[in-house]
Amino acid sequence: MTQSELFIQLLINGVTLGSYLALIALGYTMVYGIIELINFAHGDVYMLGFMISLTFLGFLGVRGTLGGWQLWVVIFGVMLVTMLCTGLINMTIDRIAYKPLRRAPRLAPLITAVGMSFMLENLGMIWKGPSQILYPDIFPAFDIPNGLFGLNTMVLFTTKDVFLMGVTIPLMVVLTLFIRRTKMGKAMRATAQDREAAALMGINVENVIRTTFFIGGALAGAAGMMVGLYLNTGRYLMGFDAGLLAFTSAVLGGIGNVTGAMLGGYVIGFLNAISDQYLSPEWTRAIVFTTLILVLVFKPSGLLGERTPEKS
């Protein structure tokens, strides 16, 4: 592989990793924006998205690569159901573990969040076992540069990469439009900026919080399924790893800021790819967290964070 091929490969890897990290990071940042809580169980909701979609594919008896209309019906059907499930699960997590503590000191729901995370991880382990699980390779991997354009290159870029981006990026666009344009989206922003004033304007704040958890969970579920289709493997602890990176992305971008979470996801994605390529994967974690620390030292609110000091 030549240097330029390596670089192009790195860009591709960065974008694919960044795409699903961004999708998970959105859930962290949206929940934090509204109730100032780090939902540590969020990464595990992503893991459940992987497991739930795997189970539905099992029901449908899908094992190998599909084609034609079957491919799209199965993928989007299962994805919709998965997103609905993980959205409802995330809402339930809020109902059980955070809502009773809405007026408690901030440390209390943080602890229940960690507890929820452990519970979901154990649930995943009991459900699908402790070892690495295979996910059916449904989506056909067609080598685009060589097969379509007849280039003779070592760069690996397949229809799977296109598919991953083609699902995650539109989801982010739809979310952004939802938050900017719709009445509910505006109510979410209003509630994030001043919860009491939002209630005084007739906004049902609890309803806004439920919606936020639902959307975050649905996006995490979509990410879980996409990763299954893309990497074809996963494990009950996958939510911890991805969650840590996605949470880092959210903080790097400025927690509470939706655009920041997406930007952070891609920055972390690229950092990962660069470090994997030019250093070694063992160093990647160190590089990612060093960058996070450096950014926070010089700009504590994160890249796009504009949070003013907390109101009293």
Binding site: K186, A187, R189, A190, Q193, L200, G202, N204
Partner: protein
């Protein structure tokens, strides 16, 4: 039957007994002002009416209907909206978006549009700033936005908490003129003010609140002549 009636309201902040048996009425067509010094319980009274706080004792009725245990967002839908102390506009929402939030519970799009034009009629400055973020507006403009936002819910009674706070004398005049305009257009107002002089000029009746109790209740003209009021709140020695 009074439009809004508070009867023997007791409200607590944890263990602190903030309101100790308050009774207030506001009738249709009135501006009623609630005056008192810092910490007397004026804002607590409005928060209790709005459902942010709930009374431990006593009843609040809107046209005879009990509202004291309804959540804040339902109270807005029933017809009570307030421009809270410190304005509390949404700093990273535009002027128009802030106004839309005031109309959150409404689904009559045409009516909302009509009311937005009405608010822009009352506050032409807001129209000029319609796409600007709330946080970038000046203090006076923010107060106008807070009042306009509350009007967007088409309230049957409007609560105003310290609308003159932190504004220059000229702006205070403007705001009070607009308060009278809103009243003339048919919306009753419960006005909380530290600026007792201005408040008693526009109000028909007034209540004086001291450490969680109503100590005086009279017509605004009588209150303005009352010796204790003049000493304590109108700055006369």
């Amino acid at each position: 039957m009074a439009l809004l009636e508070l009867a023997n309201i007791h409200t607590y902040y944890g263990n602190i007994h903030a309101l100790k048996g308050i009774s207030i009425t506001v009738d249709k067509g009135e501006i009623v002002s609630l005056i008192g010094s810092n910490g007397a319980g004026k804002s607590t009274t409005l928060k209790t009416i709005s459902g942010v706080l709930h009374p431990k004792e006593g009843t609040i009725t809107l046209e005879g209907r009990r509202i004291d245990h309804a959540p804040a967002h339902e109270i807005v839908a029933m017809g009570i909206c307030q421009a809270p102390e410190g304005r509390r506009i949404f700093p990273r929402l535009t002027t128009v978006e802030n106004l839309e939030m005031g109309a959150f519970h409404r689904s009559d799009k045409a009516g909302v549009q009509e009311d937005m034009e009405r608010v822009f009629g009352l506050f032409p400055r807001l129209k000029e700033r319609r796409t600007q973020q709330g946080g970038t507006l000046s203090g006076g403009e923010q107060q106008m936005l807070a009042i306009g936002r509350a009007l967007m819910s088409r309230p049957r009674i409007l609560l105003l908490d310290e609308p003159s706070m932190g504004l220059s004398p000229v702006l205070v005049e403007t705001i009070f003129q607009i308060i009278q305009d809103i009243h003339a257009q048919g919306t009753p107002i419960l006005l909380v003010e530290q600026n007792a002089l201005m408040a008693l000029q526009v109000a028909s009746r007034g209540y004086v609140l001291q450490t969680g109790r109503i100590v005086l209740h009279d017509t605004a003209t009588h209150l303005a002549e009352n010796e204790m009021v003049r000493k304590a709140y109108l700055g006369e020695s």
